[in-house]
């Protein structure tokens, strides 16, 4: 025991002695007996942990009882007991129990004079205190007191054993505001070229990555050492950091000065190719990630690695597959799109997990629709792909697929016949498609929206108009989502008009009568739809029919007039068309046009009015996703004289005053209407139970022979695989392919020249690749800058500091200056106690600056001794260094420490 006493540093003894003075001997003895007893009965941390492990079944109850015990313990005076309690609490906190109630007790333990207890107190505080902890003020005071404490151990705990490296600190500071550290660049540059401590090198390279955007010349200088490092290093972490920084440098410099960096890019891409091919999944992932960054600026360079990337699509790891999907759109060309999509489709089929499947689906669509179908030469194939995609179960992209089918059919005139034939089949077999699971139904029903719309809009391509009309009229309001039903009703109208026109032209009054009868027998059911818009449309149509029936009873022909309702070609409208409508001169939306409107007026608005305005308000849902501005349903139906014209015409005809008036009226109605629902109205719930009966009825006839097939297989729908088979079987397809190959060179050069596109291959369709219609006087190029900036990484966005502002005098960073201490400490640095002593202010003499020792930027590094170089090579993570450490732990640890933490001096 006396030996132990001697080992203790002298001041600890003094400390304890001072405490003794407070108590008389008897008091102390009593106290000690009591606390000894306490200790016997207290649970230690180990007991607690064991207890928790033994009470797995009723852990919560056990812990609750422990917390009660701890609360008792905290009430005792002994700091030892308290510290023990706090230690247990720290453990419970880690398990997720709330210990905020004990924060004051934690402070008490932090204030303990014993190192053991203080250490526990600080640990508990660091783990459990947060912004809202009430005793925060006390805590900071405690820390301040401890840092200033003459007791070296206290300050050691308070500082957490601060040994933070200068490089670390500067890198961290510089990341916040890089500009102010530009002056340090030469020093870091020298460090980068001479040191080979990987931990530090990575920090420095990161710092340079932050500095480059501020000093373009630096970028040029950096490329060489970075490429050297890329070529020489065996540490993957460093290699990866270098490549990332080179990419960042090239992105930032290529924006300013157009230089030729092909070699650097080539090197990066080549190395990344190696990473991607590596068997290590981590490297593969990171390789693909970095490749994606290069793709944004140098897509050509990446394309060389198409095969490797495609191979990654087969990887076992989902995250790797998703990364390679990211790269795919850079690899696609007119030549290989079919091959790539085919591969993706195979993946869709085999994909497990809906997330990946949905991801695949949206990628297929985005690849194909890229730049208004730039890569697609064969649209029949694309429609087949889309039809195939509707079979994917449980995807949430049904609306996306539907939108694509509509868009392609609108843009590509020559595809309409094929598209309509496919869509007609979908519509006729709707009951089959809707018989799947609820999820499948919601997906497929979105496609039915597109199908119905296409059949109605392009009825002249429908082979069996009667059949399609009959199929549409069979739609069950209980089975179909309302917004789709409303599209159905609208298109039933179109088909009816078409059939009526035909029948009247042939003077076939029987047909007219049976057509009217068919409509009048089926429409009442649709009039009962819960969805307001569907209901309204059905009612309008039924009312119209009753009028028409009167005409027909007098054998008067009205077909031409009815057809006029739906006449006119719909063109794609640019997504930004609405906001590009030029503001009419003198229009001030804030000025009242009439007298100021009084609040109470509108309560009395009668039902008719409400219904009418309701119709006006609602967005025509079939166009909501259509890439154009929303159209208002009633504009069309209320004003048949306008016929079908793109919306912009109608809107420009209105005077500003009228517009204004309408707007005000709308607002007023919205405000006063308690039933107005903002945004999309919720779809009525489709009953799931009583739909079983009709389904069984309908399926009875068809399902007998279809049961053998997959439930979604519809006879006649071509689908992708069958389409490809058919195409392969015909000569023209192969011929077309060859022809296409010949012309691709020409096509590439003049991609935007539509005439050269047309004669590219026999199967090429005329595609309306425009962005869509725009209002007159609008320029498609204004305020489009926002998109360009998206390419840069977040790293550079973070650097968005005010560069024009000069440094304040207190911010100027001078080059590093060596410091010498006037009173040199004789203590050996590596003695365990001495490190902490260094923080106590007593031992430090005044510091004196010396002139900077570093040279100008890019001065050749001073020649190092062989020994130093050897030492440098032991960076992080190397296995060789591990052995070294084992042999001579003391010295190696020291050397590496100084190398890393203090930097090379």
């Amino acid at each position: 025991m006396s030996q132990q006493q001697q080992q203790r540093p002298p001041h600890v003894r003094i400390f304890d002695a001072s405490q003794v003075i407070f108590y008389t001997f008897e008091e102390m003895a009593l106290k000690n007996i009591r606390s000894n007893l306490d200790r016997l009965f207290d649970k230690s941390l180990t007991d607690l942990i064991r207890g928790i492990r033994n009470n797995k079944d009723n852990e919560a109850r056990y812990i609750a009882s422990c917390i009660e015990e701890i609360k008792m313990e905290l009430k005792q005076e002994s700091t030892f007991v308290k510290a023990n309690a706090i230690e247990k609490l720290a453990y419970l906190q880690m398990l997720g129990y709330d210990i905020s109630w004990a924060s004051f007790n934690i402070i008490e333990v932090m204030a303990s004079t014993k190192y053991t207890e203080k250490r526990i107190g600080y640990l508990a505080a660091a783990q459990s205190f947060h912004d809202d902890t009430e005793v925060l003020m006390l805590t900071t005071q405690m820390i301040r007191k401890d840092i200033n404490s003459p007791n070296m151990y206290d300050s050691g705990v308070a500082l957490g054993g601060v040994q933070s490296a200068a490089v670390n600190v500067i890198c961290e500071l510089a990341r916040k505001n890089p500009k102010n550290y530009l002056t340090l660049a030469p020093v870091f540059f020298k460090l980068m070229t001479t040191s080979s401590n990987n931990w530090m090198l990575i920090k420095i390279i990161k710092l340079f990555g932050a500095l480059v955007p501020l000093e373009p010349r630096l970028g040029k200088k950096l490329l060489e050492p970075l490429t050297n490092l890329i070529n020489s290093t065996s540490a993957m972490s460093l290699l990866y950091e270098c490549i990332n920084t080179v990419i960042a440098v090239l992105i930032s410099t290529s924006a300013g000065t157009p230089g030729d960096h092909t070699t650097s890019i080539q090197l990066c891409v080549q190395k990344l190719g190696l990473l991607i091919e590596d068997s290590d999944q981590n490297l593969k992932y990171l390789g693909l990630l970095a490749m994606g960054k290069i793709l944004q600026t140098h897509p050509k360079a990446v394309q060389a690695h198409k095969d490797i990337v495609l191979r990654c699509l087969d990887d076992r790891d989902e995250s790797i597959r998703i990364r390679s999907l990211d790269l795919l759109y850079g690899m696609v060309s007119k030549k290989n799109i079919m091959e790539i999509v085919k591969k993706l489709m195979e993946h869709v089929e085999h994909a497990e997990g809906s997330h990946y499947r949905d991801e695949l689906l949206s990628r297929i669509i985005s690849i194909c629709s890229y730049n208004n179908y730039q890569y697609i030469t064969n649209f029949e194939w694309y429609i087949s792909v889309l039809v195939e995609l509707t079979k994917v179960e449980g995807t949430k992209h049904g609306a996306k697929i539907a939108e694509q089918i509509q868009d392609v059919t609108v843009r590509v005139q020559s595809i309409r016949h094929f598209s309509v034939s496919q869509m007609a089949l979908l519509v006729e077999n709707a009951n089959l498609l809707l018989s799947g699971s609820a999820q499948q139904r919601s997906n497929i029903s979105e496609v039915l929206l597109a199908a119905a719309w296409i059949c109605g809009e392009y009825w002249e391509h429908v082979r069996d108009l009667d059949g399609v009309l009959a199929a549409m009229l069979k739609a069950k309001p209980s089975l179909m989502p309302g917004h789709i039903l409303s599209v159905y009703v609208q298109n039933i109208g179109k088909l009816y008009a078409a059939l009526l026109g035909k029948a009247e032209a042939e003077d076939d009054w029987d047909a007219v009568e049976s057509l009217d009868n068919l409509m009048m027998s089926k429409l009442p059911e649709l009039e009962l739809a819960e969805h307001l818009e569907a209901q309204e449309r059905a009612c309008t149509l039924a009312a119209m029919l009753r009028v028409l029936e009167q005409y027909h009873s007098r054998k008067e022909k009205v077909g031409a007039e009815v057809c006029q309702l739906y006449e006119g070609e719909l063109n794609p409208v640019a997504g930004k068309a609405q906001r590009k409508v030029p503001l009419p001169e003198g229009l001030d939306l804030d000025v009242w046009i009439g007298e100021e409107w009084q609040e109470s007026a509108s309560e009395s608005s009668d039902e008719d009015e409400a219904e009418k305005t309701f119709g006006q308000m609602r967005v025509r849902s079939e166009f909501a996703n259509f890439g154009g501005p929303p159209r208002y349903e009633s504009d069309e139906e209320a004003e048949p004289a306008h016929q079908k014209k793109p919306k912009k015409k109608a809107s420009t005809e209105l005077t500003p005053a009228e517009l204004e008036k309408r707007k005000l009226q709308r607002e007023r109605e919205i405000q006063s209407n308690p039933y107005y629902v903002k945004g999309t109205a919720t779809q009525p719930k489709r009953p799931t139970e009583f739909q079983m009966a009709p389904k069984a009825e309908e399926n009875g006839t068809t399902s007998a022979h279809l049961n053998i097939q997959s439930p979604l297989e519809i006879p006649g729908v071509v689908g992708l695989s069958r389409y490809m088979e058919q195409q392969d079987a015909t000569l023209t397809w192969k011929k077309a392919k060859k022809e296409k190959k010949k012309t691709t060179k020409k096509g590439k050069k003049k991609r935007h020249d539509t005439t050269s596109d047309e004669d590219e291959a026999a199967v090429v369709h005329q595609v309306n690749r425009h962005d869509g219609e725009m209002p007159e006087n609008a320029k498609s190029t204004d305020d489009e800058a926002e998109e360009k900036t998206n390419g840069l990484t977040d790293e550079f966005k973070a650097l968005d500091v005010n560069l024009d502002e000069p440094l304040r005098p207190d911010e100027i960073v001078r080059g590093p200056q060596a410091y010498i201490r006037q009173t040199v400490s004789h203590r050996p640095l590596m003695h365990p106690y001495a490190i902490d002593e260094a923080y106590s202010m007593e031992y430090q003499g005044p510091l004196q600056p010396r002139p900077p020792t570093t040279g100008p930027l890019l001065k050749k590094p001073a020649v190092e001794t062989e020994e130093e170089k050897e030492e440098d090579r032991k960076g992080c993570g190397g296995k060789a260094q591990e052995k070294e450490e084992g042999k001579n732990p003391w010295s190696d640890g020291h050397k590496r420490r100084t190398g890393c933490a203090r930097g090379h001096k």
């Binding site: 203790r8 304890d16 102390m28 053991t116 990555g209 995250s319 933490a901």
Partner: protein, 157 residues
């Protein structure tokens, strides 16, 4: 900068959590839950990186323990893996063939080692030996105090 580090056992029990950013308690719990489910969904042949909100999770599994760190967008994943490795090696050196039980019963030591290794989410010390020296020095100090406590108890202080 590292945002948090946590050790999660195969049974989904949290063995150590260190936060370098201030989160409300509720959010912490949610993050732990999210991270656990994400980790358990991974198979052994998958890469060690997961994207989680705006952070990147880097994890490595040692026997029954997952070591998981969350880093920022610009951080280097591979060096984070090295950090995990270094920390595990330090634990191993400190406890001698470390296993999960060591971390459970001496969780405070695991924290002390981590605190010497990392500060504010950045690596501050890359020498295992130095970390061990510092922690052992502190332990030594505690031992001294324990023996002092014995004197006090017997009225010999």
């Amino acid at each position: 900068m590292m945002h948090f580090m946590m050790l999660i056992s195969c049974q989904g029990k949290i063995r150590l959590q260190k936060w370098y950013n201030s989160y409300p308690e509720k959010q912490k719990k949610k993050i732990i839950r999210d991270v656990t489910t994400l980790l358990f969904a991974r198979q052994s042949n998958m890469c060690a990186f997961i994207e989680y909100k705006e952070l990147k999770l880097v994890y490595k599994r040692y026997a029954s323990l997952y070591f998981c760190c969350a880093i920022e967008e610009g951080d280097n994943e591979l060096i984070t893996l090295e950090q995990i490795q270094l920390y595990v090696e330090t634990l191993d050196r400190y406890f001698g063939a470390v296993c999960e039980l060591d971390v459970i019963f001496n969780f405070e030591k695991a924290y002390f080692l981590l605190d010497e290794f990392m500060m504010c989410g950045e690596v501050q010390e890359t020498s295992k030996l130095h970390i061990l020296q510092l922690v052992r020095a502190q332990d030594l100090l505690q031992e001294d105090e324990v023996s002092m406590g014995v004197f006090e108890d017997h009225g010999l202080g």
